[in-house]
Subunit: 336 residues, 2 copies
Amino acid sequence: MIKPKKILKKKEFNLEEYAQGMTDGDIGMLGKAITLVESTKPIHQEFAQELLEHITAKTGKSIRIGITGVPGVGKSTFIERFGKYITSLGKKVAVLAIDPSSEEGRGSILGDKTRMENLSTDPLAFIRPSPTSGSLGGVARKTRESILLCEAWGYEVIMIETVGVGQSETAVHSMVDFFLLLMLSGAGDELQGIKRGIMEMADAIAITKADGENLNPSKIAASNYKRAIHLFPPKSNDWIPRVMHCSAQDNQGITEVWEIITTYINHCTLKGTFQEKRNDQAQFWLYESIQEQLGRYFHENEKVNKELTRLEKQVRLGKISPFVAANQLISLFHNS
Amino acid sequence: MIKPKKILKKKEFNLEEYAQGMTDGDIGMLGKAITLVESTKPIHQEFAQELLEHITAKTGKSIRIGITGVPGVGKSTFIERFGKYITSLGKKVAVLAIDPSSEEGRGSILGDKTRMENLSTDPLAFIRPSPTSGSLGGVARKTRESILLCEAWGYEVIMIETVGVGQSETAVHSMVDFFLLLMLSGAGDELQGIKRGIMEMADAIAITKADGENLNPSKIAASNYKRAIHLFPPKSNDWIPRVMHCSAQDNQGITEVWEIITTYINHCTLKGTFQEKRNDQAQFWLYESIQEQLGRYFHENEKVNKELTRLEKQVRLGKISPFVAANQLISLFHNS
């Protein structure tokens, strides 16, 4: 169970006040709206749903970018540089994060905002750390709803940061228009940690820290990945993932990432796949959300949960078939 | 809904008779047991579960191999050659298939057994076409249960065939010890159809039809894939996927595939990951099965299903948030 850091009273603000905060571009109100979405209190959830219904017409107008890479790849530095470039174009940018494994106190991916000091003090930027620990399904839902809130508040580019080591990439991939994978140069061991399957999701791979002595190895790595990508199955929208190198330190390759993204958006818009992908994603989230809620009711049943723990052990030991165990649990669920 | 081709009466055979058929290696009885598992009639399902419980101790002793590749890659020819090689070692081999999209009448992947004439008449071999159309979850469950039945009947190697174009590969991957991807030579367009993500699942890639004029291009393709695979994230069990070429026509490379598989099994056994992977898979199927059954109850509710169809359209059009729609459907489900 997730405890919101700050418990809001339902009546602290009403829908009209949130709408006014949205019109005024009041960042504090956006933060409060996200806290509502993140709260597990039924009364907050209910109000959050009303708020989301209220803003529906104002959503969908941003470019949603997923950014992943293992710790050490320089995600924060890249995002700060990239975010500053986007705000320099006069665009409002929001940075969200998904990190289901993070726990309150242990700090989320983004840690405190001091890791992105320049961006966090930029009036055109909004940075929000990952919701505190919870199930992936729950955290993913919250992030997706937060995207909608940021859009209603007028943010034009939304980045969703995740660590390339868990299942959260699949969730992020299914809520963004463009998926960027950050990697380090040096063949082989630097890949430790990047989960299999993530490379094939990427719309672009950027080799980071391509500066100083690392510039040449980065160029080599980029051309290796470029060749490898041609062996990958083609994407359904015919987009060939781009591979490039960049340096946040030397401020090199940052504008190129933005150019690749705009080229991609044009490509998809021309093909008619941009909106189609979003529609598919919305449908995907409908089914995911149904599954998540059905699962929640199941796991919230104490009797069922206790028996699940017992049967799970038996299943792992091969003492009972997973299907027989599932049948027993479903019967128990229906009878209690 | 799936209709078994032949409706068995529950009392046609009892548990003891099935057990006897198992001891006698009676292939007809194995076929009937699988038909029971495939049946959607509750009375058959119940009996199938009893049978599965009864045989639990006799399962788990085979090598389970997943084989995938797009239509035209020569899967049937490869499987027949490979199967014949395995039976020539004195081992009993079973071939199953997953093809959730196939419909009765339209024929399953394996089609009729005439496509594997030599193997299907081999007394050490058992070939079973894919269950007829149904949800992926349902078909996958049936295939997994069929694996257990084949093992109880003494089959030592079990191949599960699937077409590399849909979601079924992920399901197959989660029920086998070794995952083999068959591919054709010629860079680029031959990959049309192989789904993204499948390459990264493979424990080995075999370039098929490497004979005659196609031998050299196949060698080049193999060495390209070999290089590309080193750029992939390493597998958790430290296995480096093998890439090779083979020809079912010239009977080349068939024994090598078997050698790679036995090397792999030894590698995993030494690492202690062989049983661990199976335990993880069993646990995975427990959760999958719970989800599938919860989903089934939900979708079987006519009122809910009708509303789902309506809301799905609204969600795709962006008229309602997927989460709000899911909430409405869950409320409807609980109230009816």
